[in-house]
Symmetry: C2
Subunit: 505 residues, 2 copies
Amino acid sequence: MKTLLTAVLLGFSTFAIAQNPIREYRQAHETRLLNEFVQLLSIPNVASDTSNIRKNADYLVAEMQKRGLKARLLEAANNKVPPVVYGEWMTPGATRTIIFYAHYDGQPTDPADWTGSKPWEPVLRSTSLEKGGKTISFPKDDEKIDPEWRLYGRSTSDDKAGVFAILTAFDALIAKDIKPTVNIKFFFEGEEEAGSSNLKEVLSKNKERLKADAFIVCDGPVHQSGRKQVVFGVRGDVNVDLTVYGAKRPLHSGHYGNWSPNPAMTLARLLASMKDASGNITVKGWADDVVPFGPVELKAIKEAPQYDDEIKKQLGITFTEGGGTSLLERINQPSLNINGFKSGDVGSLARNVIPTTATAVLDLRLVKGNDVARQIEKLRKHIESQGYYVIDRDPTDPERLQHPFIAKFTQREGGYNAQRTKMDLPISIAVINAVQAASVEPIVRMPSLGGSLPLSIIEETLQMPTITVPIANYDNNQHAENENIRIQNLWDGIEIFASLMTMKN
Amino acid sequence: MKTLLTAVLLGFSTFAIAQNPIREYRQAHETRLLNEFVQLLSIPNVASDTSNIRKNADYLVAEMQKRGLKARLLEAANNKVPPVVYGEWMTPGATRTIIFYAHYDGQPTDPADWTGSKPWEPVLRSTSLEKGGKTISFPKDDEKIDPEWRLYGRSTSDDKAGVFAILTAFDALIAKDIKPTVNIKFFFEGEEEAGSSNLKEVLSKNKERLKADAFIVCDGPVHQSGRKQVVFGVRGDVNVDLTVYGAKRPLHSGHYGNWSPNPAMTLARLLASMKDASGNITVKGWADDVVPFGPVELKAIKEAPQYDDEIKKQLGITFTEGGGTSLLERINQPSLNINGFKSGDVGSLARNVIPTTATAVLDLRLVKGNDVARQIEKLRKHIESQGYYVIDRDPTDPERLQHPFIAKFTQREGGYNAQRTKMDLPISIAVINAVQAASVEPIVRMPSLGGSLPLSIIEETLQMPTITVPIANYDNNQHAENENIRIQNLWDGIEIFASLMTMKN
């Protein structure tokens, strides 16, 4: 009652608390809904897995057709790449058209890394693995579903949860005979985790079809505090592969070690040169072109809950990079992260050998003002400043004998810049109000998320604002093994998107 | 003729050049010998592969029995570990007894890393892979074998070449009715590459049986110049596993990157702290206890060919660790080498994630004076000096919240100290003369090899000098993928061991 009172006093809609037909619909069909979601999750969905990713697309077309939507695949010229699954619902008299976006592909993963289950064979657990969650059977017809249960599997959160919440919100409205207030365009991408390389082409080819007032993206986690959030920007992202070289052939570490250069040590030194002991990036000019926040954004950040100490405790960390700067401040700066480092072998395959190469994959996040090409160039220059001859391929024999330090430095496909929508646009305010209406607690307005989506491509191509409404729990292990979603977050997602589909002006 | 003349003028035996019954024997049986060697190589021989390593031992027992030797397995108390294959040949009137050692196990390897062949399915190539060697068919009955051909497969060099050369030298002597001058004890170990964990026990249990004047080891490569060599010492060796920690669960690099610590970067910094930019080790006191060489050793080193520039060219390297110090000087210092480094994934499995751990396997080589326990302790102290809480297991949750930097630091089993035999002992001189007798060019006398063998264990347990006589080509890719032996080195090995079995006083 206290929360209800607070919500009423604060002037929030009580839609979420009192009579709620969307919740009634969900409560009446929980077992079926969960089963349907598991069915979707059981189709392997790595973008490069051409045959399976197509099965996902076909499945979603069938799902849309069941709902009476005109569904179609929007294909790139290269029809080997995952298509966009598209559907429309026109509302007579609607003045707004909203595109609802989610992506049905997931991050690649090594099944061997998962604990007690497989990526595409979802299992239900009593709570999170970290809290000792045990596998439980899927509920039968009328068994109760505990909202704290977790569903484990690839894309349970990122981002089939979005696909599922959007489609189910629409179902619930239709079932309860509630008219959407907007025209709805469903847009489900199939290669977001592979860098959205063909998204721009598909958007360009379908500009007419995709006319709308806003592009609402369901992806990423809610705030660490558990509060719902609306996000007005995302960081840009680009990946780099970096390889350094030792001798041309693997050498016995006894006969040549500490004379012939060890590439693992060479790369360790090179990477260590990119940050200082506090974790601040030392690459020259890294943040020089960053556009600072305005007063609306600064206010929103100030009002966002500060959960750093709680998160540190949960993650089991004491030191943070950035000399004590808060997480919120850090994710609004350009970043440099090592995704992976490999040289030789560890564990039972380790041998007394000097590896021939060492390779790292780096992830650069960009904020408003940064530019992919400029950021890449700054890093390349830094590597050169460390004495390296930088090329985009393996060195030739003459190059090896000419340059003591050689780095192969290549940008991965699919990099893109950051995106930010102004928080005081009418559509921004309408979205904030709609999400707030589906939430008891005050929602968080976030000028930018730490994560990335190719929203700059959308904005630039379609000339419309994008706003992100995430639904996943923040501890969903997104992009890693043991990805999961908390059932209550899935249920809340349905209510949030139903509220957005019935947004007021 | 020029070489013959030089040899005669220098006073070397012309045994190797003129009439040579051992060579005649080999030349008459080359195809059969090669086939027999391939048969031995085809039995997988990783020490931990219990069933296959036993097959190797049984095969060698049968081979010894064929030769009329009393063959037996010397087992450790734990009979799951690889046994020593042992055989004896007593020479009436012999005043010396020599143990001939080689090991029949090989380094673990990932078959996927091999180029065009598999570790235990040997193939013949026209020359080395690096020089563009092509696969060629094994020769039929009377086809000529080119001595520059290479045989590729695990343990072709390290160290089944030793087993094969020793047994075949003995065959040749018997076939040509040449009496050995010494009692021969064949001693083939089966877990050298796994750290010889049970060797000491087996030696201790068989002290009486193993009474001898010297322990001659066939392992390692000949000098880089291609000259034969006799080696009077080896470095000690010990491996360390080192793991550092990030957050308890894998994190999205966008949402947490550059705030939550990245263990790959943490480990890169820690490793980088262990050497300076010239590649000199910065761990305090690393070489403080080294026993310097005496005049005989220094003379031998001075007379050894200097091949650094040639090797650098062959390896495709310009920079060497140690600020220009020669390879020979470097391998006579204690070393620190990274065998492997892994954190997260690279290549197609790379994801935008902050890994939870980063792991390196380090290889520490020790020289005379160093001690395994002391060297390990110096490294542990160095890690502590970098601000780490050092433990030998994963941290607990309270430890994580108490210590900003935590390292799991564990010594692998099987570490041992360096060994050196004085170069002016009568047996040392007899061995030098015997190997020189089988060689046209002046041989290299090496006070210590860069590589390691558990010879200190042998010396301490059996109280006898050990001397190493390697036969493999130095570019044999020992311990790595694409291990190979040059056929001529195999043939020379037979002559060298026949010469040793008929050594003069």
